[in-house]
Symmetry: C2
Subunit: 270 residues, 2 copies
């Protein structure tokens, strides 16, 4: 089987956790990652602006870099601009929200799930909507401190454990008040896989933690017609960013689980 | 004495702590605040882009709103674009960095000071440069978790105390390694006045905490020819933002110490 070329897009470098999961599932592919670091955060921008930015990014990956498949490893762009991106490029496009909701449906017996994400993702109610389409009830909670804690590198720090405890106990109280019998917790942010083990230790026993990045990689395998047969890792990874290349290189390897290599600067407006 | 009209600009709403200090020192003025929330964070952008954005904002405040004085309540714009702003508008313009450094000089007997700020401000070395011009040695430290903790409202939370302890003990170790006999800690971020008391409790006894917002308000009184005589508060405040008006209204009052009132949306590109 020849190497497929998969483009992966995020507003920042958090989406490298999705690329990491893709590398595990489709290890013989050729990957081009683009982080639109000059224009982040997408979360505070209008749907129209996000669609414009994300379509530009998709066109760069497909037209300039030759990607045959696209993964939108950005919750905000997946939630607000997937249709626009699909119209902007003539290749299969996969977001992170739907695979997360599908994995939650597969994991949940009660049909009630919890979702933690950034304030912007929660405000979009993208996961609640996708979960409803899967026949699930979802309660979403914004956890704004988790991204900065991960970016600070405090992925095993006692402070991070405490912050997780505060958020999860608030979420439990809300779930109880709404009468939810939840048995799954969806990680609706690309930064959260780095604190997955802390989250798994903090949830009530019996609650499954669903990693959207893993779920997306599994969905990519199916959608992109990859057979999932074990192959030696021959993956090539090339990374682009629109700004802050130095920060990307410094923090990115922790998200990717291996060095990002030299990150190339690109101007999407130019 | 008639009411002066003072324009206050920040990339977000953190600069409302500077406006709060101004209200304390020049209570009879008329204030127009502009937060460029659509284009934040400035910290990751180039000097040229920041100068362009900040000049647009300054022109809005002076030409459209009639401000006779400007306070740049944004550390990044003060550090990188003060000259450009001064050239863009024909009124006196004051930043937050120089007043902070001047206040540090007035407070420090040893001539060695510490500065805590965001990563972007530290990377610009704006405070170290301004302190050097005052004859001070300054050691700067980025404290990326403090802004999200303040925005989460955890201004008296035990987690915030712990995070402060971690940062300050790292800073003490660095200061010791470099042989600094510091006796002042400059708050180089407009969010930090909200955790000033926690910081004061955490510093080594004898170390003075310098609030750049307070220092800027004192400098404004002198530069703008206000006599500092006690007057009844007749201040009027009008707030504009370029995006996220709802978040501005929700969080802004905590920074301002009183309700922001209705925040008006403005498009600086239009």
């Amino acid at each position: 089987m020849r190497s497929p070329h998969i483009g992966v897009f995020d507003s920042g470098f958090g989406g490298l956790t999705v690329l990491r999961a893709l590398l595990g599932h489709i290890p013989h592919a050729c990957y081009t990652f683009l982080g639109d670091t000059a224009r982040l955060p997408y979360g505070s921008k209008s749907r129209r602006t996000i669609a414009h930015y994300a379509s530009q990014a998709a066109q760069f990956l497909v037209e300039k870099q030759g990607a045959e498949y696209l993964v939108i490893a950005c919750n905000t762009a997946s939630a607000l601009a997937l249709d626009s991106i699909q119209q902007a490029v003539p290749v299969p496009v996969l977001g992170v929200v739907e695979p997360g909701a599908e994995a939650a449906r597969a994991a949940s017996k009660t049909g009630d799930v919890l979702v933690i994400a950034t304030a912007a993702t929660v405000q979009s109610h993208a996961y609640a909507t996708a979960c409803r389409e899967q026949g699930l009830r979802a309660l979403e909670k914004a956890c704004p401190l988790l991204v900065p804690l991960v970016e600070e590198g405090w992925t095993e720090h006692p402070v991070t454990r405490q912050v997780i405890d505060v958020y999860l106990s608030e979420l439990r109280a809300e779930a109880q008040a709404e009468g939810l019998q939840y048995d799954a917790l969806v990680l609706g942010c690309t930064h959260y896989p780095l604190i997955r083990s802390l989250l798994e230790q903090a949830v009530t026993p019996g609650v499954r933690v669903i990693d959207s990045a893993e779920a997306t990689a599994e969905a990519a395998m199916r959608l992109f017609g990859q057979d999932g047969e074990a192959r030696p890792s021959t993956a090539q990874v090339r990374c682009f960013a629109t700004d802050s290349v130095e920060k990307f290189e410094r923090l990115g390897s922790r998200f990717l689980g291996r060095p990002t290599g030299k990150v190339e600067l690109v101007d999407l407006d130019g």
